[in-house]
Subunit: 243 residues, 2 copies
């Protein structure tokens, strides 16, 4: 009677645990049927590439378990890590909606299970259900707002301030919610990836971490961060922030 298996995840879109957190929450049963038919599940191990910059768009990816990093690399091999994609997030929709090839690559950072929905299915759903389009419009528009904010931050803030901000964002998204007081948190990323999220080098990342420790702002043990007082991070980020 078990219609889903903890080792294999959901068998279809109807029983999918993460569906309510995706854009597909606006679909009716008939549309879900269509979605389910256009769907294939794939699994990736850490380091495996889901798509490459320049590849033609294969569809939209729904992350069920694991974590994916979206990277953009230039001709000289320099790269930035743009996004972390976690369960309930959709991946690859930008290229599909823009009608372009991928302009970034996606790589599994943990063992990851993903459903791929092919392009014709997504196009058909978008053409028939305006609410789905509006959902995506909201998502892409908010994402654009965040990207623009990042452009400002990278242009005006120091590496240290950008790192403080990154910590706040990571804790807010993936950590326990606690506005103030001491916080412990496990970073989901290597030093190298932390660096490429804020547009710097692993060496500068190391030195920034060391400096923050000596200043008593945070303590780092491997990927564990201990922050005595979250508010100090906010002050790092906004020098003239006051209560």
């Amino acid at each position: 009677m078990a219609d889903q298996n903890p080792d294999q995840g959901s068998l279809n879109c109807f029983t999918c645990q993460t569906r309510d957190r995706t854009e597909w929450c606006v679909l009716d049963d008939a549309e879900l049927q269509l979605l389910n038919k256009g769907r294939v599940t794939k699994e990736y191990l850490p380091g495996e590439v889901i798509f490459h910059e320049g590849d033609p768009c294969r569809g939209v990816f729904c992350l069920e378990t694991g974590m994916v990093g979206v990277r953009k690399t230039d001709a000289d091999g320099n790269s930035v890590l743009l996004y972390l994609v976690t369960p309930g997030d959709t991946l690859g929709y930008r290229a599909m909606l823009a009608g372009e090839d991928y302009r970034a690559s996606a790589e599994a950072l943990e063992p990851t299970r993903i459903c791929v929905i092919d392009v014709p299915t997504v196009r058909s759903l978008l053409g028939h259900n305006p609410a789905l389009g509006l959902r995506y419009l909201k998502r892409v528009s908010m994402s654009l707002g965040n990207a623009e904010e990042k452009i400002l931050h990278n242009a005006t803030l120091s590496v240290r301030a950008r790192f403080a901000h990154l910590l706040l964002v990571l804790i807010d998204k993936y950590g326990e919610k606690s506005t103030n007081g001491p916080t412990e948190f496990e970073l989901p990323l290597s030093r190298h990836d932390l660096a490429s999220m804020i547009g710097t080098t692993p060496e500068s990342m190391s030195r920034t971490i060391k400096k923050m420790e000596s200043d008593g702002v945070a303590r780092f043990t491997g990927r564990i961060v201990y922050i005595p007082e979250i508010e100090t991070l906010v002050q790092e980020f906004e020098p003239d922030h006051f209560v």
Copy 2:
């Protein structure tokens, strides 16, 4: 019998010269009627602010004549110039589609005529015509791709390489089309604004321009740039670019 006046521009959406270049090109006559009713024309002088960061979204702006700059400023007064908006472009749609307040400000850089379409009208059109939503999806998605590219460039390229890239983009968008050979072009921006488009200071901008001149890459006379060979700019931007 003249249904439009060169000094006042189009009187309505039906006779609007720039409509075909906007998202509204997918609307039928009934929808145009609605659009026209939700529309108010406004004029701005250089320096006048159209909307401020933090303001609630007032609608979507259609630029008929002139030029608008979209800026983002932080608490310390540092700012970046994110976009130049020219006739046929739409403005302010990001906030509207994200359902957020404005996260950037818009300011006229030249005498500018703009039609403002109120939020309910845009919402209504989006809800009824899926093609309009798809148009906006494409626009926002491409914009997001460009923003992500900018994040990579700002993180990995020098001020000089970023400026070379900016020149190429400006010439491509607002200049005569010529892939190779000498090009003359009038920059639409002050040194200060050029600087804030690539996330640097006016001082560094000046020095970069001076260096480029002494290297024979380009000559600057006020806002006029003369580039003996466009290809050299491409090489500045992609060090290992070859034909």
